[in-house]
Symmetry: C2
Subunit: 349 residues, 2 copies
DNA sequence: ATGAAAGCGCTAACAA
DNA sequence: TTGTTAGCGCTTTCAT
């Protein structure tokens, strides 16, 4: 009387049941090149009856491949990064890979620790939004690295994927322009100087393209939060030295939302009195009235593309590549055609 | 002249450098119980100079433990589940574990496939929000299972973690009651009959506790979306056969947001004319004016607790347990004190 | 077409 | 306190 074993079946169990060697089972498992159809059938039956499932750990140890990708992002609870993660997962899954997600919380030490941990035999490549520029750490990882986010192209040796900020800003400015708002006021965050400079630089480029004098745009320096956007809008409305802008372009949606609140509180109508456009395309923008017009970054695609690139690199194809993905204009109610000055004066009184 | 090796260092390399056996190195790695301080120092130096990092795959294969948890949720891009995931990750990380997240998209087949894949030697336990009731699949997994979400307690054999819907509804009803709204109208989704029944059941229980006749509450059956909530509110306002409710209690925030929009369009003020309370505590609720008062479910805690439970089970402690975590009232502007009928009539006219 | 045997990097008896 | 040895489950030569 043999005692029943409760441990998962191994390749050896299958071999015994089928009356073959484990090599043969392995061959069947591998998509079976040269195995006799009869043998194959026997093995397959044995696999089914034993409930065998391949042990990825053993396979990984032997082959040096885990078919796992590491994804280091600031925070999975942030909707932006959650979308990126979902994209990476979907692309990976389609190719039979998994994604191990870790959070850096924008902290370089945490990021480094995670990168180390991921490489301890767990993943074949990492996709990372670098919190701090630490090329040395990345270089010593000894596995393919794909950089995502704005800092990506600073390290040409690694592949990178980012959204096209220039084209996004252009989309926004062109849309405003078409509605008669050639010189919107700008709401920009000052807390991240690099991001601020990048944003303003791009806006100026676009202005020149559209034949607008960059310095005719009012710039209101503020913070990336809704409260800050609210305060900035109030300042803009209170400024006695210049006319009220017909439109406001906020560098993110949170500020745009704050601006809209300030407008409402001031008894002004959006978009009739002031149009507002944001960037990011956060979900809340669709839930308010009027809906927030915004520039949506290709979050999901950043995920899918970076996963694809990572897997490509692991499989030896291709040198480092730098992908720049287009943004999209989400038209909702917060941008409208400019009223004639007379009309807007009248409604204001 | 020895050629330089570019493969990662193994325990054997370390042993050779330190002039000891790999067992000794392993002992140092394990937190080194009985190793001579001198030897230990030599080994540690060897570890540092070689840049050695433990191979988790090999360790896992040998010990049968991966220190990885599988987390099966409907969708990581859904903020609710992203928060749960973050909680699980944080709790796991604190104990030196990792979490492998996969998405079921509320599809039973996908869920089953993922569960299978996770068990192929990758994770030591799974935490799952079951899309369909499939206890057999879970039983045959051969590893600890923790169920999260409403269906959890249907399988007493597995540990479960869920929010306390009863207490949450009680919080909402009590808050409304304190503000003079004893009999709010209910907005409930009809698409998920089980959830609908559960919600109404709980509301009725709470009514009885508070001495309110359950059937004095108007019930508007609708859908879980914002558009549906909007339409439902309009029906409520148009109903000629009963007075306009002083307050509305929506079974989720999306419906509540829709209701608020309908109110505004009808020229009514929230909360002066009609108070609104929702459930979920979504981020958008804080971004609109007035802020949406809501019952927040303990998403993050569901994650941390379920990860803790899973790890407990793996380490052999404790039998199945069923955790029920409290909800929290987020007071914002959408619920206000009831106006006297006279007053409300006047403002309406 | 099939099998025997070695070995991936590690841990855990057991021995010394 | 330290070392020897076996083996986790798999893939991969190399024989047959």
């Amino acid at each position: 009387m043999t005692s029943k074993r409760h441990r998962p079946a191994t390749i050896i169990d299958v071999a015994r049941i089928a009356g073959v060697s484990k090599t043969t089972v392995a061959r069947v498992l591998a998509g079976g090149e040269q195995v006799d159809p009869t043998t194959r059938a026997r093995v397959e039956k044995a696999i089914a009856t034993s409930g065998y499932e391949r042990n990825h750990l053993a396979q990984g140890l032997r082959t040096g491949r885990t078919r796992m990708l590491g994804l280091v992002i600031p925070d999975i609870a942030n909707p932006y990064w959650a979308d990126v993660a979902r994209g990476a997962q979907d692309a990976a899954e389609k190719l039979g890979w998994s994604v191990l997600i870790v959070n850096s919380d924008w902290d370089r030490d945490r990021e480094d620790r995670h990168l180390r941990a991921l490489r301890q035999g767990r993943v074949d490549a990492v996709i990372v939004n670098p919190a701090g520029p630490s090329p040395d750490m990345l270089r010593t990882l000894g596995c393919p690295v794909v950089l995502i986010g704005s800092g990506g192209e600073d390290f040409p040796e690694f592949s990178s994927v980012r959204s096209n900020a220039h084209q996004g800003v252009q989309l926004a400015m062109a849309h405003l322009h078409r509605q008669g708002h050639a010189t919107p006021a700008l709401l920009v965050g000052r807390t991240r100087p690099a991001a601020r400079a990048r944003f303003l630089g791009v806006v100026h480029d676009v202005c020149r393209q559209q034949g607008i004098a960059p310095h005719s745009l009012a710039i209101e320096d503020t913070d990336y939060s809704m409260a800050a956007g609210h305060a900035a809008m109030r300042r803009l409305l209170a400024a006695a030295d210049r006319e009220r802008p017909s439109a406001v372009f906020a560098a993110n949606d949170l500020m745009a939302l704050g601006a809209m609140t300030a407008l409402r509180e001031a008894g002004l109508d959006c978009p009739r009195d002031v149009s507002v456009i944001g960037m990011d395309g956060i979900a809340a923008g669709a839930l308010i009235a009027p809906g927030l017009t915004s520039i949506e970054k290709p979050r999901y695609a950043i995920g899918t593309e970076s996963a694809g690139l990572a897997i490509e690199h692991i499989e030896g194809r291709s040198a480092a590549r730098h992908l720049v993905l287009p943004c999209r204009l989400i038209k909702r109610g917060s941008v409208g055609a400019r009223q004639s000055t007379l009309l807007s004066r009248r409604t204001r009184a």
